[in-house]
Amino acid sequence: MVIETRPPHESDLETIDINVNVGPQHPATHGVFRMVLTVDGELVVDLDPVIGYMHRGNEKLPENCDYRQVIGYHDRTDYLAQFNTEHCYVEAVEKLAGIKPPERAEYIRVILAEINRIASHLMFFGAFGTDIGLFGTSFMYAFRDRETIQDLFEEVTGERMMYNYFRPGGVAWDLPDNFRQRCMQVLDSVERGVEQLDGLMMENEVVLARCRGLSPVTPEDAINWGLSGPMLRATGLAHDIRRAEPYSIYDRFQFDIPTGKRGDVYDKLVVRLEEMHQSARIVRQALETMPEGPIMAEGLKRVLRVPAGEVYMRVESPRGEYGVYLVSQGSDKPWRHKVRGASFSNLSALRAMAVGNFVSDVIIILGSIDIVLCEVDR
């Protein structure tokens, strides 16, 4: 893919393109991301993304850990969708080791992962509002509801951020007694909050004027750039791993895959907003049909040894395709552990999407990718 950049032009009025270094410490880069913008006045003629400030060896470190210890590292890759990433890893280990988790554990996982998707998208709307210049109002709206979700997660796992709750073969412990009722409560209030967020942002004239038609992505480009998740679906492709390659028990639930039409920034908002409702729909179905029973597979050893082999497991995380590649040589530690971060692939299309736009639009294009820098740099 060749990106057209403007050559330095010759004219009577001699103007200079200046380099503006946005980040690594900048309010709009969602962490320690840095992009060097070459601007001609307000127009961005080139963009150079610089990543790696958050690299912690999150793929190598687990190779020295017991299979169950690795779960914590997945909480820390995508720290806004911890259950989704944990889900991916434990499914990968189960696939490799041939463990069948009990029904109830599968339901718990799906419920928590879907609520986590809502929480992650709420975070997106809050941060995106700030990017586009809303003075913290969307943040407050989004965080009010995210807070109730975090309270629910705290009741289940005892943690508010690094849950470390899923285990190969099941989940760590059972849900609290009144979980079903509490969960319904949370869902109701969150869906009301999502409606308010919808009213605050989606019909707002300024949001429409800013986001409609901004940096449209064609489906072909989206595939070539390796986009996934809402970024891909906004272009009109209904690709969702929960449907395309159903893992866990997703084939039992009714849900729709919202898609956009043009792949512009506004479509990405619409898709994410609708996904929250669809996730709530899945959770309600799962709560209806969740069986009682054990939450951990029988007969697992204290030290988990996984037979030699390799596996690639992918799930639909809120940001797109989150994948784990594991190679085992039969020991109690993974021999190779590789993570495919959705943010990383989506971010790599930034330059192509951003060049030629205004500085302020580049900020919201970056915001619309919904990156988590810990997942990009790992």
């Binding site: 200046i18 380099n19 503006v20 270094n21 900048h26 309010p27 709009a28 601007v39 006045g41 307000e42 509002g129 700030t130 990017d131 586009i132 210049g133 809303l134 003075f135 913290g136 109002t137 407050m140 709206y141 009010r144 605050l200 989606m202 019909e203 707002n204 004239e205 300024v206 949001v207 429409l208 004027a209 800013r210 409609r212 038609g213 595939i223 009109g236 492709l237 209904a238 690709h239 969702d240 449907r243 395309a244 390659e245 729709d256 895959i257 919202p258 898609t259 956009g260 039409k261 506004y266 479509d267 619409v270 898709v271 609708e274 205004f358 500085v359 302020s360 639009d361 900020i363």
Partner: protein, 375 residues
Amino acid sequence: MSLVLISHNPWLESLARLAIIALLVPVTVIILTWVERKVIGRLQMRLGPMRVGPYGTLQGVADTIKLLTKEDVRPQTADRWVFELAPFVIVVPVFMAVVAIPFTADLFIKNLTLGLFYFVAVSGLSIVGFVMAGWGSDNKYALLGGVRAAAQLISYEIPLVMAILAVAMLSQSLNLAVIVGAQEDTPNIAYQSLAFIIFAIAGLAELYRQPFDIPVAESEVVGGPFVEYSGIRWSMFQLGEFVNLVLISILGSLIFLGGWQWPWSVFDASVPVAAQVAMMAVKTGTFIFFFMWMRASLPRLRIDQMMSFCWQLLLPFAFLQIIINGLVLVYDWPNEILIPLSGAAAAGAVYLTYRAARATGVRYQPGYQTVGSVL
């Protein structure tokens, strides 16, 4: 009669009046910072400041003390004098503008015949301060912000002045006291609704508040021209911004809402001073609340949208208002005819804005796919 000062020496009296401004204005600003945080807090379902004093009322004082005791940092590569003088260049014109503003019929510093014109001229000077701060900081964010500020403030000054001019045409005076006096029966907002809308929007842009906070956009240029400032110099920018907020609000209530006049002649001939002050406070407060409300609920426009909105929509409509006024004045039509004319034009302007915002298409329902992947 003016501010009741018992001094026959004009120099002493002038000094005393200026001292009153210098004392009163910062206090107002300290209160307003608390009000703004409280109002925006409530709009965002927060409580706002609650810790310092009852309901956080002393928050402004605490902030001031913090700002005054902070280190005043200057980047080594900054252009020393330009950098250090910029805050003054912003604050001094703002304070100069306060001089010409009558607060009630009897409370003013100086009643100028050309008061309105003076106000416009002086408040335009602050732009130099933004450019100085932006250029002198030797920071690219500041430079971008300074250029944005200059472009925006100069552009929006034109519709603002045009809207003010429309009122001056109707009142046949540039003296603010006379303009208020002329609104005894009907405030100008009825006759000049188009000019009022233009004034409110252009005022919002002159105050660089959302959706026009492009020069100081936090998520883009990180505070724009102010990015390198700290401590007292930064607080001077803040002071200038808030005094400007008050000034624009007072000006709006003077020339459009009838100033200290009570509606429906509640008090017959003479309105008591306390009632005048109360009326002014209510009208000014309405404006200030409007500006704060916008801040909490609107995102930021892009710079080209901001510019084309000004030049393609506000300015032609400002001219339209002036032409309408001119027709009414030349042909001696009754003023009442302005109500439907200006109202219709205002409705047209609002409709065009609405359409422009949705020109790129309205919201649609996302497509739903229940089948599997297409990949």
